[in-house]
Assembly symmetry: C2
Homo-oligomer: 252 residues x 2
């Protein structure tokens, strides 16, 4: 059986007062997480922090030291609360410099509306390279293992799908889901034994209580070895049948 210990790892850093105040429902985490999982890059941590220099610098430096890749979202723009580029420069100990290529793009795009506010978008950390997308002209930059993306989901998504193929990926993760009408408390011991016998597969148990009384649990078998994931799934199905449960199954 192949081993999959060599997966690249990742963290996401959401820079956004609007998430911390509860104003905005974040969707960037799920979008990035799903795609990293399929690319075999193990997402191990997400942090959400305020638009605050100290918090950004400290988090970026911690995360970039701990993971293969760091993706930040938010704080890319022309207004006073857009401080990501300056903070990343500080975190890397490099200057914030005007990028000639970006300056030309901005002038070409905005024409007579080009001004000092928009010129600010050309400032990126020295040594960083621009990230592109098919939606907007200016959407972020990459320096070393840190990728800084817009906070706006459509723009972030358009950039992310273009940068992903350039990353070092791993064996893709896959998962199967078995949803049944049993209770966790009845099968927990049997499930533990299955987890022990299938240690290369992460087995998650997610109970639900829905109305009208629709109570049950979903088991998610997740891993990088599709044969092992299927074997664990078969064992879970057998367990559900043994407990006289009914089930549905969604395989990768």
């Amino acid at each position: 059986m192949p081993t999959y210990s060599a997966h690249p790892t990742a963290a996401i850093l959401i820079i956004g007062n609007e998430i911390l105040s509860g104003r905005t429902q974040d969707t960037n985490i799920k979008f990035i997480a799903e795609r990293l999982d399929k690319a075999g890059i193990k997402l191990l941590e997400v942090r959400v922090i305020p638009d605050d220099e100290e918090a950004i610098v400290e988090s970026v430096n911690t995360l970039r030291a701990n993971y293969t890749y760091v993706f930040t979202t938010g704080g890319i723009g022309t207004t006073h609360d857009d401080i990501t580029a300056a903070c990343i420069a500080k975190a890397f100990g490099v200057q914030l410099v005007e990028n000639d290529e970006m300056l030309e793009i901005l002038k070409g795009c905005h024409q007579e509306r080009f001004n000092e506010n928009r010129r600010r978008m050309a400032l990126i950390p020295k040594g960083a390279v621009l990230l592109r997308n098919k939606l907007t002209v200016a959407t972020g930059f990459n320096i070393d293992n840190v990728y800084c993306l817009a906070g706006m989901p459509t723009v972030m998504e358009a950039s992310f799908v273009l940068l992903l193929p350039g990353l070092k990926t791993g064996v893709p993760f896959v998962s199967n889901t078995v949803t049944c009408n049993l209770r966790e408390g009845d099968i927990a011991h049997a499930l533990t034994k299955i987890q022990q016998a299938h240690s290369s597969v992460e087995i998650g148990s997610y109970p639900f209580y829905r109305t009208p009384p629709d109570i049950g649990v979903s088991f998610v078998m997740h891993g990088a070895d599709p044969y092992a994931v299927n074997a664990a799934t078969d064992a879970v199905v057998a367990m559900v049948q043994q407990f006289n449960g009914t089930f549905t199954i969604v395989r990768f």
Copy 2:
């Protein structure tokens, strides 16, 4: 003008492989964040980490030292992947003990279905107290400044609304939103001047590009002094009018 520097602070720790794999769209952050904001408790950090002992212990100990309150979600249950209680006990350096009150509740609730799996739900860190809700019998516990809640949104929410009134709260935060058809790049400098003149108010600028071409920006004025928030809002409205923009406004 009153000062509001004495707000309690908070962090959320989402314990969940299902968020990191992209399987599940988290909604717990927004639910908790909104209510903390209205209660005048400043949410300053969110972390999402795997169902992993080392990650949980380290994060809990960092966050509980840095913030007034820590709310964890996930890992409360009867299956092998429910390790929050054991990890919190380890983080606090206390034993995991069987809570008599919880044991009675579980026996009473499950009757002839009570078993060793369900008995596991009665294990909480020594010194912790049970959290209750109106939906389920067993939903988490509180030890010192750490509140451990279920991951399932309905259960988490039912517990959170009952624990919130027991917290030390601050002057509530309020916010106004002005949405207009201008571009950030045109008003950035004027907005910076408004932010400087209204330093007790956090002014966020959130551009949007929607289809059909519906381009603009929302300004969010957020703070604990309602008069200051309104004054900053009035200044932003005046700015939008000065730039010949049209706008809508939502006040707290």
